[in-house]
């Protein structure tokens, strides 16, 4: 199935996206409103996760800010830069230390729900990933978050 999404001549390839998270990346990078051709693979077989998502974007470059924003949803995914059908750069995406204006604070009494949000990430002793709100100082498990600012 993966081969049907096609090869790209120039652009980027985001592979090994956790299943279901491609949608967040489409929204954050505004791919639904972009002039680039985009190939999207959902629920593809993956040795790493069992199932994965995949996005290929033709004639698109990605800024560090955009990488930081999407990394909340595709930590461990691989980002490849393609030129003339060849991979010229490849990196594994890591969760940034600061996550700006992506997460909606689950604390309904938090002032950041009215303004911009900012979270600091950390990994605890049993490898669970926590994010702490810069404003209300509460910590949450990253994988238990459910509300995001995507526009």
């Amino acid at each position: 199935m993966e081969k049907h999404i096609g090869y790209i001549e120039n652009g980027i390839n985001i592979d090994h996206i956790p299943q279901g998270n491609a949608w967040y990346i489409i929204k954050i990078l505004k791919l639904d409103k972009s002039s680039s051709q985009v190939g999207i693979g959902l629920n593809l077989p993956s040795k790493k996760f069992g199932k994965k998502d995949l996005i290929k974007i033709e004639n698109h470059s990605i800024s560090q800010n955009e990488i930081d924003s999407i990394s909340t949803f595709c930590m461990g995914s691989t980002l490849s830069v393609i030129k003339d059908f060849k991979v010229i750069e490849k990196k594994t995406l890591e969760l940034p230390k600061k996550i700006n204006n992506i997460i909606i604070c689950p604390n309904i009494r938090c002032v950041s729900r009215l303004y911009k949000s900012q979270f600091n990430s950390s990994i605890n002793h049993n490898h669970k990933i926590y994010v702490k709100c810069y404003y209300c100082e509460q910590s949450f498990l990253l994988n238990e978050l459910s509300e995001y600012k995507l526009d």
Partner: protein, 301 residues
């Protein structure tokens, strides 16, 4: 001496151990009458978007004693924010143009941090929702120091609602800096939350859990009580977390009872005249701690 000049105080977590000790030492000098007025010609905005009696009045008394002037409001119903729907950010920006320092209480968590980012004057957080109330923690620490002569290694009992109480969480964080031995006394349903517990485990300090004050009263230097909120206690356990004169028969001579006030049934008036009662002095200490902070942030010394 640490330099707090023109710095904001948003969270107890922002302060180092040395800064806390310097604030306590300065508060002590105010208590002993060794420092005089230093806020002449300074205008301080005291903005309470949520009502408060002790905190607001002790701040305003501290300003008056230092010779400064206070502007502001005691609740938000009389402001343009409520009346005309002005945004909070605009209100804070404008206030910061009128004053040299802003004392802020707000019902939403994190408002003091937001204010410290957008205002060009120092902020003192006087309580942001359920989050932080750093001057309360500083006056609690000052009270322990003042009544025991030290903070290091003190045996501190903390009793009541340990799960939801804001002052308890901040006090525990600070207690870790001073290697205190902590005794937590609460019903199982109001035990310490997971996050605080995790931080305690990492800190390496000694702590233990108890279901009744009788089990530990003879070991404590200070007993920090919290208000019993009836909706969070069931009827049967309620009475076990009240203090009584007979319970105090087994207390150490130097024991002092602290309470952030207001109190409910957990701390009956019969305790007020015992040698163990310290909570009214604790409330008064709030004045010295706030004088010390205002002086260190804005003073002309």
């Amino acid at each position: 001496m640490t330099n707090l000049k023109n710095k904001s105080l948003v969270s107890i977590n922002d302060l180092t151990k040395k800064e806390i000790l310097d604030i306590i030492n300065t508060a002590k000098r105010f208590k002993d009458g060794l420092i005089k007025s230093s806020l002449t010609n300074k205008v301080i905005a005291s903005c309470f978007f949520e009502h408060s009696t002790r905190t607001r009045m002790s701040f305003e008394a501290a300003i008056a004693k230092l010779g400064g002037k206070t502007i502001g409001f005691a609740d938000s119903s009389s402001t343009s924010l409520a009346g005309k729907g002005e945004s909070l950010i605009d209100t804070l920006k404008i206030i910061s143009e009128y004053a040299n320092l802003l004392i802020l209480r707000h019902p939403l968590d994190g408002t003091a941090r937001l204010a410290s980012d957008i205002c060009n004057i120092p902020i003192i957080n006087a309580g942001d929702g359920a989050n932080q109330h750093p001057t309360q923690t500083l006056l609690d620490l000052f009270s322990i120091e003042d009544s025991q002569g030290s903070l290091e290694g003190i045996s501190l009992g903390i009793m009541g609602d340990l799960k939801y109480n804001r002052t308890v969480h901040s006090l525990i964080t600070a207690a870790q800096l001073f290697s205190m031995k902590l005794f937590f006394i609460s019903p199982p349903s109001l035990r310490l939350d997971e996050e605080s517990l995790f931080k305690l485990k990492c800190s390496g300090i000694k702590y233990s859990f108890h279901q009744a004050p009788e089990q530990v009263i003879d070991q404590l230097d200070c007993l920090y009580m919290t208000r019993l909120q009836k909706e969070r206690f069931n009827r049967e356990t309620h009475d076990e977390y009240k203090i009584s004169l007979s319970l105090l028969n087994n207390a150490k001579d130097n024991l002092k009872i602290l309470h952030p006030l207001p109190r409910m049934e957990e701390l009956p008036p019969e305790i007020d005249n015992s040698k163990f009662a310290y909570y009214f002095t604790q409330a008064k200490n709030g004045l010295y701690v706030r004088q010390a902070l205002l002086d260190m942030i804005l003073g002309e010394n």
